[in-house]
Subunit: 250 residues, 2 copies
DNA sequence: AGAGGTAAACTGGTCATACCAGTTGTCGGG
DNA sequence: CCCGACAACTGGTATGACCAGTTTACCTCT
Protein backbone atom coordinates (compact mmCIF):
# COMPACT_ATOMS: atom_id res chain seq x y z
CA UNK A 1 0.00 0.00 0.00
CA UNK A 2 3.04 2.22 0.12
CA UNK A 3 2.38 2.99 -3.49
CA UNK A 4 -0.79 4.89 -2.66
CA UNK A 5 0.23 7.21 0.14
CA UNK A 6 -0.24 10.24 -2.05
CA UNK A 7 -3.62 10.46 -3.66
CA UNK A 8 -3.29 12.32 -6.94
CA UNK A 9 -5.07 15.65 -6.88
CA UNK A 10 -7.96 15.17 -9.24
CA UNK A 11 -8.75 18.56 -10.69
CA UNK A 12 -12.40 18.42 -11.50
CA UNK A 13 -13.73 20.64 -14.23
CA UNK A 14 -16.83 22.74 -13.77
CA UNK A 15 -18.90 20.70 -16.19
CA UNK A 16 -17.87 17.47 -14.46
CA UNK A 17 -18.91 18.95 -11.16
CA UNK A 18 -22.28 19.99 -12.52
CA UNK A 19 -22.78 16.59 -14.14
CA UNK A 20 -22.04 14.73 -10.91
CA UNK A 21 -24.23 17.02 -8.86
CA UNK A 22 -27.26 16.69 -11.12
CA UNK A 23 -26.71 12.95 -11.55
CA UNK A 24 -26.59 12.46 -7.80
CA UNK A 25 -29.74 14.48 -7.25
CA UNK A 26 -31.64 12.49 -9.86
CA UNK A 27 -30.44 9.08 -8.69
CA UNK A 28 -31.24 9.91 -5.08
CA UNK A 29 -34.76 10.79 -6.14
CA UNK A 30 -34.54 14.46 -5.20
CA UNK A 31 -35.94 15.29 -8.62
CA UNK A 32 -38.82 13.03 -9.54
CA UNK A 33 -39.22 11.47 -12.96
CA UNK A 34 -41.10 13.66 -15.40
CA UNK A 35 -40.24 16.88 -13.60
CA UNK A 36 -38.87 19.73 -15.68
CA UNK A 37 -35.49 21.24 -15.01
CA UNK A 38 -35.14 25.01 -14.96
CA UNK A 39 -34.18 26.51 -18.29
CA UNK A 40 -30.52 26.37 -19.19
CA UNK A 41 -30.10 30.09 -18.65
CA UNK A 42 -31.68 30.00 -15.19
CA UNK A 43 -29.96 26.78 -14.15
CA UNK A 44 -26.59 28.12 -15.24
CA UNK A 45 -27.15 31.20 -13.13
CA UNK A 46 -28.32 29.13 -10.15
CA UNK A 47 -25.20 26.99 -10.34
CA UNK A 48 -23.00 30.00 -10.95
CA UNK A 49 -21.52 28.53 -14.11
CA UNK A 50 -21.42 29.35 -17.77
CA UNK A 51 -24.23 28.09 -19.95
CA UNK A 52 -21.77 26.22 -22.16
CA UNK A 53 -20.37 24.28 -19.23
CA UNK A 54 -23.89 23.47 -18.09
CA UNK A 55 -24.81 22.27 -21.57
CA UNK A 56 -21.87 19.87 -21.63
CA UNK A 57 -23.20 18.39 -18.41
CA UNK A 58 -26.78 18.23 -19.69
CA UNK A 59 -25.76 16.48 -22.90
CA UNK A 60 -23.94 13.89 -20.85
CA UNK A 61 -26.99 13.41 -18.63
CA UNK A 62 -29.03 12.93 -21.77
CA UNK A 63 -26.60 10.31 -23.04
CA UNK A 64 -26.83 8.51 -19.69
CA UNK A 65 -30.60 8.72 -20.17
CA UNK A 66 -31.14 10.51 -16.90
CA UNK A 67 -32.82 13.43 -18.65
CA UNK A 68 -34.43 13.98 -22.02
CA UNK A 69 -33.85 17.24 -23.86
CA UNK A 70 -36.24 18.67 -26.39
CA UNK A 71 -35.41 21.56 -28.65
CA UNK A 72 -37.79 24.38 -27.78
CA UNK A 73 -39.31 22.46 -24.89
CA UNK A 74 -38.07 21.80 -21.41
CA UNK A 75 -35.52 19.30 -20.19
CA UNK A 76 -37.18 16.58 -18.15
CA UNK A 77 -35.97 14.01 -15.65
CA UNK A 78 -36.23 10.43 -16.90
CA UNK A 79 -37.32 7.37 -14.93
CA UNK A 80 -33.73 6.20 -14.94
CA UNK A 81 -34.48 2.69 -13.67
CA UNK A 82 -36.25 2.07 -16.96
CA UNK A 83 -33.83 3.90 -19.21
CA UNK A 84 -30.27 4.12 -17.86
CA UNK A 85 -27.44 1.68 -18.57
CA UNK A 86 -25.13 -0.22 -16.26
CA UNK A 87 -22.78 2.74 -15.95
CA UNK A 88 -25.14 4.04 -13.30
CA UNK A 89 -24.19 1.17 -10.98
CA UNK A 90 -21.13 2.96 -9.63
CA UNK A 91 -23.28 5.96 -8.77
CA UNK A 92 -26.00 3.87 -7.15
CA UNK A 93 -23.52 1.95 -5.03
CA UNK A 94 -23.18 4.89 -2.69
CA UNK A 95 -25.92 6.38 -0.61
CA UNK A 96 -26.09 10.02 0.44
CA UNK A 97 -23.96 10.05 3.57
CA UNK A 98 -21.13 7.98 2.16
CA UNK A 99 -22.53 4.59 3.06
CA UNK A 100 -23.09 1.85 0.50
CA UNK A 101 -26.34 0.47 -0.84
CA UNK A 102 -26.28 -3.20 0.08
CA UNK A 103 -29.01 -4.09 -2.40
CA UNK A 104 -26.82 -2.80 -5.21
CA UNK A 105 -23.83 -4.79 -3.95
CA UNK A 106 -26.00 -7.90 -3.85
CA UNK A 107 -27.23 -7.21 -7.37
CA UNK A 108 -23.72 -6.91 -8.74
CA UNK A 109 -22.61 -10.15 -7.10
CA UNK A 110 -25.68 -11.97 -8.42
CA UNK A 111 -24.88 -10.80 -11.91
CA UNK A 112 -21.29 -11.90 -11.52
CA UNK A 113 -22.45 -15.33 -10.43
CA UNK A 114 -24.75 -15.61 -13.42
CA UNK A 115 -22.20 -14.50 -15.99
CA UNK A 116 -18.97 -16.13 -14.81
CA UNK A 117 -20.00 -19.73 -15.57
CA UNK A 118 -21.09 -18.88 -19.10
CA UNK A 119 -17.95 -16.84 -19.66
CA UNK A 120 -15.92 -19.88 -18.65
CA UNK A 121 -17.98 -22.14 -20.89
CA UNK A 122 -17.49 -19.90 -23.91
CA UNK A 123 -13.81 -19.44 -23.12
CA UNK A 124 -13.40 -23.22 -23.20
CA UNK A 125 -15.20 -23.19 -26.52
CA UNK A 126 -13.37 -20.34 -28.24
CA UNK A 127 -10.10 -19.49 -26.50
CA UNK A 128 -7.14 -19.02 -28.82
CA UNK A 129 -3.74 -20.46 -27.96
CA UNK A 130 -2.66 -17.01 -26.84
CA UNK A 131 -5.58 -16.81 -24.45
CA UNK A 132 -4.84 -20.27 -23.07
CA UNK A 133 -1.20 -19.41 -22.52
CA UNK A 134 -2.10 -16.15 -20.82
CA UNK A 135 -4.53 -17.92 -18.50
CA UNK A 136 -2.08 -20.65 -17.54
CA UNK A 137 0.59 -18.01 -17.00
CA UNK A 138 -1.59 -15.91 -14.71
CA UNK A 139 -2.58 -18.94 -12.68
CA UNK A 140 1.08 -19.84 -12.35
CA UNK A 141 1.82 -16.39 -11.00
CA UNK A 142 -1.03 -16.67 -8.52
CA UNK A 143 0.34 -19.98 -7.27
CA UNK A 144 3.75 -18.45 -6.80
CA UNK A 145 2.28 -15.79 -4.54
CA UNK A 146 0.43 -18.07 -2.18
CA UNK A 147 1.08 -15.78 0.77
CA UNK A 148 0.19 -12.41 -0.72
CA UNK A 149 -3.57 -12.35 -1.11
CA UNK A 150 -3.74 -8.74 -2.33
CA UNK A 151 -1.29 -9.53 -5.11
CA UNK A 152 -3.35 -12.57 -6.07
CA UNK A 153 -6.43 -10.39 -6.06
CA UNK A 154 -4.85 -8.17 -8.70
CA UNK A 155 -3.86 -11.25 -10.69
CA UNK A 156 -7.42 -12.56 -10.37
CA UNK A 157 -8.58 -9.42 -12.14
CA UNK A 158 -6.17 -10.20 -14.95
CA UNK A 159 -7.45 -13.76 -14.93
CA UNK A 160 -11.07 -12.73 -15.41
CA UNK A 161 -10.17 -10.07 -17.91
CA UNK A 162 -8.44 -12.70 -19.98
CA UNK A 163 -11.37 -15.07 -19.51
CA UNK A 164 -13.81 -12.49 -20.82
CA UNK A 165 -11.59 -11.76 -23.80
CA UNK A 166 -11.24 -15.49 -24.47
CA UNK A 167 -15.02 -15.95 -24.42
CA UNK A 168 -15.16 -13.74 -27.50
CA UNK A 169 -18.46 -12.34 -26.35
CA UNK A 170 -18.49 -8.58 -26.76
CA UNK A 171 -21.59 -8.13 -24.61
CA UNK A 172 -19.87 -9.90 -21.73
CA UNK A 173 -16.75 -7.90 -22.32
CA UNK A 174 -18.49 -4.53 -22.17
CA UNK A 175 -20.57 -5.57 -19.16
CA UNK A 176 -17.38 -6.77 -17.49
CA UNK A 177 -15.75 -3.38 -18.01
CA UNK A 178 -18.54 -1.71 -16.09
CA UNK A 179 -18.83 -4.34 -13.36
CA UNK A 180 -15.08 -4.28 -12.91
CA UNK A 181 -15.11 -0.53 -12.48
CA UNK A 182 -17.63 -0.75 -9.65
CA UNK A 183 -15.63 -3.60 -8.14
CA UNK A 184 -12.41 -1.60 -8.09
CA UNK A 185 -14.00 1.02 -5.86
CA UNK A 186 -14.03 -1.60 -3.09
CA UNK A 187 -10.80 -3.28 -4.03
CA UNK A 188 -9.11 -3.05 -0.63
CA UNK A 189 -12.20 -4.16 1.29
CA UNK A 190 -12.70 -7.07 -1.06
CA UNK A 191 -9.30 -8.54 -0.29
CA UNK A 192 -10.65 -9.89 2.98
CA UNK A 193 -14.28 -10.33 1.98
CA UNK A 194 -13.38 -12.57 -0.94
CA UNK A 195 -10.75 -14.50 1.02
CA UNK A 196 -12.36 -17.91 0.49
CA UNK A 197 -12.53 -17.37 -3.24
CA UNK A 198 -9.09 -15.82 -3.66
CA UNK A 199 -7.46 -18.59 -1.62
CA UNK A 200 -8.90 -21.36 -3.77
CA UNK A 201 -5.91 -21.61 -6.07
CA UNK A 202 -6.91 -25.09 -7.15
CA UNK A 203 -10.10 -23.71 -8.66
CA UNK A 204 -8.30 -21.16 -10.84
CA UNK A 205 -5.95 -23.91 -11.98
CA UNK A 206 -8.83 -26.23 -12.74
CA UNK A 207 -10.61 -23.61 -14.81
CA UNK A 208 -7.49 -22.75 -16.79
CA UNK A 209 -6.84 -26.43 -17.43
CA UNK A 210 -10.42 -27.07 -18.48
CA UNK A 211 -10.26 -24.19 -20.93
CA UNK A 212 -6.90 -25.39 -22.17
CA UNK A 213 -8.38 -28.75 -23.16
CA UNK A 214 -11.69 -27.27 -24.35
CA UNK A 215 -13.76 -28.89 -21.62
CA UNK A 216 -16.77 -26.57 -21.55
CA UNK A 217 -18.76 -28.47 -18.93
CA UNK A 218 -15.89 -28.61 -16.48
CA UNK A 219 -14.95 -24.98 -17.01
CA UNK A 220 -18.51 -23.89 -16.43
CA UNK A 221 -18.94 -26.00 -13.31
CA UNK A 222 -15.64 -24.98 -11.75
CA UNK A 223 -16.20 -21.29 -12.46
CA UNK A 224 -19.66 -21.47 -10.96
CA UNK A 225 -18.29 -23.04 -7.80
CA UNK A 226 -15.47 -20.51 -7.55
CA UNK A 227 -17.53 -17.34 -7.83
CA UNK A 228 -20.17 -18.82 -5.53
CA UNK A 229 -17.61 -18.77 -2.76
CA UNK A 230 -17.11 -15.04 -3.01
CA UNK A 231 -20.79 -14.40 -3.60
CA UNK A 232 -21.80 -16.34 -0.50
CA UNK A 233 -19.37 -14.37 1.61
CA UNK A 234 -20.67 -11.08 0.26
CA UNK A 235 -24.29 -12.15 0.70
CA UNK A 236 -23.60 -13.01 4.30
CA UNK A 237 -21.97 -9.65 4.84
CA UNK A 238 -24.71 -7.54 3.28
CA UNK A 239 -27.39 -9.57 5.06
CA UNK A 240 -25.70 -8.77 8.34
CA UNK A 241 -25.39 -5.11 7.44
CA UNK A 242 -29.07 -4.93 6.54
CA UNK A 243 -30.03 -6.59 9.81
CA UNK A 244 -27.96 -4.03 11.68
CA UNK A 245 -29.54 -1.15 9.80
CA UNK A 246 -33.12 -2.22 10.39
CA UNK A 247 -32.33 -2.90 14.01
CA UNK A 248 -30.59 0.43 14.42
CA UNK A 249 -33.52 2.48 13.14
CA UNK A 250 -36.62 1.19 14.94
CA UNK B 1 -48.28 -1.44 -38.55
CA UNK B 2 -50.61 1.29 -39.74
CA UNK B 3 -49.48 3.25 -36.76
CA UNK B 4 -45.99 3.62 -38.17
CA UNK B 5 -46.58 4.77 -41.70
CA UNK B 6 -45.12 8.17 -41.00
CA UNK B 7 -41.65 8.06 -39.54
CA UNK B 8 -41.13 11.10 -37.35
CA UNK B 9 -38.53 13.46 -38.75
CA UNK B 10 -35.66 13.20 -36.34
CA UNK B 11 -33.85 16.51 -36.44
CA UNK B 12 -30.30 15.77 -35.49
CA UNK B 13 -28.26 18.44 -33.83
CA UNK B 14 -24.75 19.30 -34.92
CA UNK B 15 -23.14 17.95 -31.76
CA UNK B 16 -25.09 14.68 -32.11
CA UNK B 17 -23.88 14.38 -35.66
CA UNK B 18 -20.28 14.94 -34.63
CA UNK B 19 -20.62 12.49 -31.76
CA UNK B 20 -22.00 9.76 -33.99
CA UNK B 21 -19.38 10.34 -36.67
CA UNK B 22 -16.43 10.17 -34.28
CA UNK B 23 -17.95 7.22 -32.40
CA UNK B 24 -18.41 5.30 -35.63
CA UNK B 25 -14.86 6.00 -36.76
CA UNK B 26 -13.44 4.82 -33.46
CA UNK B 27 -15.56 1.68 -33.23
CA UNK B 28 -14.76 0.74 -36.81
CA UNK B 29 -11.09 1.01 -35.99
CA UNK B 30 -10.37 3.89 -38.33
CA UNK B 31 -8.61 5.61 -35.48
CA UNK B 32 -6.39 3.26 -33.55
CA UNK B 33 -6.23 3.17 -29.77
CA UNK B 34 -3.70 5.57 -28.30
CA UNK B 35 -3.76 7.88 -31.30
CA UNK B 36 -4.20 11.58 -30.67
CA UNK B 37 -7.09 13.53 -32.09
CA UNK B 38 -6.41 16.90 -33.69
CA UNK B 39 -6.75 19.81 -31.30
CA UNK B 40 -10.27 21.04 -30.64
CA UNK B 41 -9.70 24.18 -32.68
CA UNK B 42 -8.39 22.26 -35.69
CA UNK B 43 -10.99 19.50 -35.44
CA UNK B 44 -13.80 22.02 -35.19
CA UNK B 45 -12.57 23.69 -38.33
CA UNK B 46 -12.15 20.36 -40.15
CA UNK B 47 -15.72 19.42 -39.29
CA UNK B 48 -17.01 22.89 -40.07
CA UNK B 49 -18.62 23.32 -36.68
CA UNK B 50 -18.23 25.56 -33.71
CA UNK B 51 -15.79 24.54 -31.03
CA UNK B 52 -18.55 24.48 -28.40
CA UNK B 53 -20.59 21.96 -30.36
CA UNK B 54 -17.49 19.84 -30.85
CA UNK B 55 -16.72 19.94 -27.16
CA UNK B 56 -20.20 18.64 -26.31
CA UNK B 57 -19.49 15.68 -28.55
CA UNK B 58 -16.01 15.12 -27.11
CA UNK B 59 -17.28 15.18 -23.54
CA UNK B 60 -19.84 12.54 -24.47
CA UNK B 61 -17.17 10.42 -26.13
CA UNK B 62 -15.15 10.73 -22.93
CA UNK B 63 -18.13 9.60 -20.87
CA UNK B 64 -18.58 6.61 -23.17
CA UNK B 65 -14.86 5.98 -22.60
CA UNK B 66 -14.05 6.08 -26.27
CA UNK B 67 -11.55 8.90 -25.76
CA UNK B 68 -9.67 10.32 -22.80
CA UNK B 69 -9.26 14.07 -22.49
CA UNK B 70 -6.43 15.72 -20.60
CA UNK B 71 -6.35 19.39 -19.76
CA UNK B 72 -3.35 20.87 -21.52
CA UNK B 73 -2.55 17.60 -23.27
CA UNK B 74 -4.10 15.94 -26.28
CA UNK B 75 -7.30 13.93 -26.56
CA UNK B 76 -6.53 10.29 -27.22
CA UNK B 77 -8.52 7.34 -28.54
CA UNK B 78 -9.18 4.66 -25.92
CA UNK B 79 -9.05 0.88 -26.42
CA UNK B 80 -12.83 0.83 -26.17
CA UNK B 81 -13.13 -2.96 -25.87
CA UNK B 82 -11.39 -2.64 -22.51
CA UNK B 83 -13.10 0.52 -21.34
CA UNK B 84 -16.55 1.10 -22.87
CA UNK B 85 -19.87 0.00 -21.41
CA UNK B 86 -22.75 -1.97 -22.87
CA UNK B 87 -24.23 1.11 -24.49
CA UNK B 88 -21.76 0.55 -27.30
CA UNK B 89 -23.58 -2.64 -28.31
CA UNK B 90 -26.12 -0.82 -30.44
CA UNK B 91 -23.30 0.88 -32.32
CA UNK B 92 -21.34 -2.32 -32.79
CA UNK B 93 -24.37 -4.21 -34.10
CA UNK B 94 -24.02 -2.50 -37.44
CA UNK B 95 -21.11 -2.76 -39.79
CA UNK B 96 -20.03 -0.07 -42.21
CA UNK B 97 -22.26 -0.73 -45.20
CA UNK B 98 -25.45 -1.21 -43.23
CA UNK B 99 -25.07 -4.93 -42.60
CA UNK B 100 -25.12 -6.41 -39.12
CA UNK B 101 -22.28 -7.95 -37.17
CA UNK B 102 -23.37 -11.51 -36.51
CA UNK B 103 -20.84 -12.02 -33.73
CA UNK B 104 -22.44 -9.15 -31.81
CA UNK B 105 -25.90 -10.61 -32.33
CA UNK B 106 -24.66 -13.96 -31.04
CA UNK B 107 -23.09 -12.25 -28.03
CA UNK B 108 -26.31 -10.51 -27.10
CA UNK B 109 -28.33 -13.70 -27.36
CA UNK B 110 -25.79 -15.58 -25.24
CA UNK B 111 -26.05 -12.94 -22.56
CA UNK B 112 -29.81 -13.10 -22.70
CA UNK B 113 -29.68 -16.86 -22.23
CA UNK B 114 -27.36 -16.50 -19.26
CA UNK B 115 -29.38 -13.81 -17.50
CA UNK B 116 -32.98 -14.86 -18.11
CA UNK B 117 -32.90 -17.99 -15.90
CA UNK B 118 -31.42 -16.10 -12.97
CA UNK B 119 -33.87 -13.26 -13.45
CA UNK B 120 -36.70 -15.79 -13.26
CA UNK B 121 -35.19 -17.40 -10.18
CA UNK B 122 -34.89 -14.08 -8.36
CA UNK B 123 -38.35 -13.03 -9.47
CA UNK B 124 -39.75 -16.20 -7.89
CA UNK B 125 -37.82 -15.31 -4.77
CA UNK B 126 -38.72 -11.63 -4.46
CA UNK B 127 -41.75 -10.72 -6.57
CA UNK B 128 -44.36 -8.60 -4.81
CA UNK B 129 -48.03 -9.31 -5.20
CA UNK B 130 -48.23 -6.46 -7.70
CA UNK B 131 -45.51 -8.02 -9.80
CA UNK B 132 -47.22 -11.42 -9.69
CA UNK B 133 -50.54 -9.92 -10.74
CA UNK B 134 -48.89 -8.00 -13.56
CA UNK B 135 -47.14 -11.12 -14.83
CA UNK B 136 -50.29 -13.24 -14.74
CA UNK B 137 -52.18 -10.45 -16.45
CA UNK B 138 -49.66 -10.13 -19.27
CA UNK B 139 -49.62 -13.85 -19.84
CA UNK B 140 -53.39 -13.80 -19.97
CA UNK B 141 -53.29 -11.14 -22.65
CA UNK B 142 -50.76 -13.15 -24.64
CA UNK B 143 -53.02 -16.19 -24.51
CA UNK B 144 -55.94 -14.12 -25.76
CA UNK B 145 -53.93 -13.11 -28.81
CA UNK B 146 -52.89 -16.53 -29.92
CA UNK B 147 -53.08 -15.57 -33.58
CA UNK B 148 -51.25 -12.23 -33.54
CA UNK B 149 -47.59 -13.02 -33.00
CA UNK B 150 -46.41 -9.44 -33.35
CA UNK B 151 -48.82 -8.34 -30.62
CA UNK B 152 -47.58 -11.15 -28.40
CA UNK B 153 -44.02 -10.08 -29.12
CA UNK B 154 -44.81 -6.64 -27.70
CA UNK B 155 -46.46 -8.27 -24.70
CA UNK B 156 -43.42 -10.49 -24.25
CA UNK B 157 -41.36 -7.34 -23.86
CA UNK B 158 -43.72 -6.23 -21.10
CA UNK B 159 -43.44 -9.71 -19.60
CA UNK B 160 -39.66 -9.56 -19.39
CA UNK B 161 -39.66 -5.98 -18.22
CA UNK B 162 -41.91 -6.99 -15.36
CA UNK B 163 -39.74 -10.03 -14.69
CA UNK B 164 -36.65 -7.89 -14.37
CA UNK B 165 -38.41 -5.44 -12.08
CA UNK B 166 -39.70 -8.35 -9.99
CA UNK B 167 -36.20 -9.76 -9.64
CA UNK B 168 -35.29 -6.62 -7.70
CA UNK B 169 -31.80 -6.74 -9.13
CA UNK B 170 -30.76 -3.30 -10.27
CA UNK B 171 -27.79 -4.59 -12.25
CA UNK B 172 -30.06 -6.87 -14.27
CA UNK B 173 -32.50 -4.04 -14.70
CA UNK B 174 -29.94 -1.62 -16.11
CA UNK B 175 -28.40 -4.29 -18.33
CA UNK B 176 -31.88 -5.17 -19.55
CA UNK B 177 -32.52 -1.56 -20.54
CA UNK B 178 -29.50 -1.61 -22.80
CA UNK B 179 -30.08 -5.10 -24.22
CA UNK B 180 -33.70 -4.24 -24.88
CA UNK B 181 -32.70 -1.14 -26.78
CA UNK B 182 -30.50 -3.14 -29.13
CA UNK B 183 -33.27 -5.72 -29.47
CA UNK B 184 -35.83 -3.14 -30.51
CA UNK B 185 -33.74 -2.17 -33.49
CA UNK B 186 -34.57 -5.57 -34.96
CA UNK B 187 -38.06 -5.81 -33.60
CA UNK B 188 -39.83 -6.54 -36.90
CA UNK B 189 -37.26 -9.11 -38.02
CA UNK B 190 -37.41 -10.86 -34.69
CA UNK B 191 -41.12 -11.54 -34.98
CA UNK B 192 -40.35 -14.40 -37.35
CA UNK B 193 -36.93 -15.34 -36.03
CA UNK B 194 -38.22 -15.89 -32.51
CA UNK B 195 -41.38 -17.66 -33.68
CA UNK B 196 -40.69 -20.86 -31.72
CA UNK B 197 -40.18 -18.93 -28.54
CA UNK B 198 -43.05 -16.51 -28.97
CA UNK B 199 -45.47 -19.31 -29.79
CA UNK B 200 -44.70 -21.26 -26.63
CA UNK B 201 -47.51 -19.74 -24.61
CA UNK B 202 -47.42 -22.62 -22.15
CA UNK B 203 -43.89 -21.65 -21.14
CA UNK B 204 -44.81 -18.06 -20.29
CA UNK B 205 -47.74 -19.38 -18.27
CA UNK B 206 -45.54 -21.89 -16.48
CA UNK B 207 -43.02 -19.22 -15.55
CA UNK B 208 -45.67 -16.82 -14.26
CA UNK B 209 -47.24 -19.62 -12.23
CA UNK B 210 -43.89 -20.69 -10.81
CA UNK B 211 -43.16 -17.16 -9.73
CA UNK B 212 -46.65 -16.79 -8.31
CA UNK B 213 -46.04 -19.72 -5.97
CA UNK B 214 -42.40 -18.84 -5.29
CA UNK B 215 -40.99 -21.90 -7.01
CA UNK B 216 -37.48 -20.70 -7.85
CA UNK B 217 -36.22 -23.96 -9.36
CA UNK B 218 -39.16 -24.31 -11.70
CA UNK B 219 -39.08 -20.65 -12.74
CA UNK B 220 -35.39 -20.89 -13.52
CA UNK B 221 -35.74 -24.11 -15.48
CA UNK B 222 -38.73 -23.00 -17.53
CA UNK B 223 -37.16 -19.61 -18.31
CA UNK B 224 -33.96 -21.29 -19.41
CA UNK B 225 -35.88 -23.57 -21.74
CA UNK B 226 -37.93 -20.72 -23.15
CA UNK B 227 -35.09 -18.37 -24.06
CA UNK B 228 -33.09 -21.28 -25.41
CA UNK B 229 -35.68 -21.70 -28.10
CA UNK B 230 -35.16 -18.18 -29.41
CA UNK B 231 -31.42 -18.36 -28.92
CA UNK B 232 -31.13 -21.58 -30.91
CA UNK B 233 -33.07 -20.06 -33.77
CA UNK B 234 -30.86 -16.98 -33.80
CA UNK B 235 -27.70 -19.07 -33.56
CA UNK B 236 -28.80 -21.10 -36.55
CA UNK B 237 -29.50 -17.95 -38.50
CA UNK B 238 -26.22 -16.20 -37.77
CA UNK B 239 -24.28 -19.39 -38.40
CA UNK B 240 -25.88 -19.58 -41.81
CA UNK B 241 -25.15 -15.93 -42.49
CA UNK B 242 -21.52 -16.39 -41.55
CA UNK B 243 -21.23 -19.44 -43.77
CA UNK B 244 -22.63 -17.39 -46.65
CA UNK B 245 -20.23 -14.54 -46.01
CA UNK B 246 -17.10 -16.67 -45.88
CA UNK B 247 -18.24 -18.56 -48.94
CA UNK B 248 -19.04 -15.33 -50.79
CA UNK B 249 -15.59 -13.82 -50.24
CA UNK B 250 -13.08 -16.51 -51.11
C1' DA C 1 -68.99 32.74 -26.65
C1' DG C 2 -66.25 29.79 -29.13
C1' DA C 3 -62.81 28.45 -32.68
C1' DG C 4 -59.10 29.80 -35.19
C1' DG C 5 -54.86 31.82 -36.17
C1' DT C 6 -51.00 34.86 -35.26
C1' DA C 7 -47.45 36.92 -32.76
C1' DA C 8 -44.73 37.29 -28.72
C1' DA C 9 -42.23 35.08 -25.20
C1' DC C 10 -40.45 31.40 -23.79
C1' DT C 11 -37.40 26.96 -24.57
C1' DG C 12 -32.96 24.68 -26.38
C1' DG C 13 -29.11 24.96 -30.41
C1' DT C 14 -25.28 27.31 -32.60
C1' DC C 15 -21.89 30.53 -33.21
C1' DA C 16 -17.68 33.91 -32.76
C1' DT C 17 -14.39 35.59 -29.73
C1' DA C 18 -11.64 36.34 -25.89
C1' DC C 19 -9.24 34.78 -22.15
C1' DC C 20 -7.86 31.36 -18.27
C1' DA C 21 -5.32 27.13 -17.07
C1' DG C 22 -2.77 23.46 -17.70
C1' DT C 23 1.28 20.77 -20.55
C1' DT C 24 5.05 20.40 -23.57
C1' DG C 25 9.05 21.70 -25.85
C1' DT C 26 12.63 24.82 -26.75
C1' DC C 27 16.18 27.81 -26.00
C1' DG C 28 19.36 30.27 -23.34
C1' DG C 29 22.23 30.84 -19.21
C1' DG C 30 24.59 28.78 -15.50
C1' DC D 1 25.85 19.23 -19.58
C1' DC D 2 22.07 20.46 -16.62
C1' DC D 3 18.39 23.25 -15.55
C1' DG D 4 15.21 26.91 -15.37
C1' DA D 5 12.36 30.28 -17.70
C1' DC D 6 9.62 31.25 -21.44
C1' DA D 7 6.90 30.47 -25.56
C1' DA D 8 3.67 27.80 -27.98
C1' DC D 9 0.94 24.59 -27.83
C1' DT D 10 -3.17 21.89 -25.48
C1' DG D 11 -7.97 21.88 -23.19
C1' DG D 12 -11.39 24.81 -19.91
C1' DT D 13 -14.39 28.79 -19.08
C1' DA D 14 -16.75 32.87 -20.03
C1' DT D 15 -19.63 36.45 -22.67
C1' DG D 16 -22.95 37.79 -25.78
C1' DA D 17 -25.36 37.42 -29.74
C1' DC D 18 -28.35 35.12 -32.70
C1' DC D 19 -30.89 30.89 -34.82
C1' DA D 20 -34.58 27.42 -34.30
C1' DG D 21 -37.94 25.21 -32.30
C1' DT D 22 -42.29 25.19 -28.73
C1' DT D 23 -45.68 27.09 -25.89
C1' DT D 24 -48.86 30.48 -24.60
C1' DA D 25 -51.63 34.27 -24.66
C1' DC D 26 -54.23 37.28 -27.03
C1' DC D 27 -56.86 38.92 -30.71
C1' DT D 28 -59.80 38.34 -34.59
C1' DC D 29 -63.39 36.38 -37.04
C1' DT D 30 -67.30 33.45 -37.19
Amino acid sequence: MLLRVFTPVRRRSVSDEVFDQLKARIVRGEMEAGASLPSERKLAELLGVNRGALREALKRLEQARLVSIQHGGTTRVEAFLDTAGMDLLTEMLFVEDGGIDTTVVRSVMEMRSALAPDIARLAALRATDDHKDALLDVVGQMESMARDRAARQRLAMTFWGTMVAASRNVAYRLAYNTLNRSYQQFFEVMTDVLADELDDLAAYRAIADAIDRGDTASAERRASALVSKGADQVFGLVDALEADTTKGTP
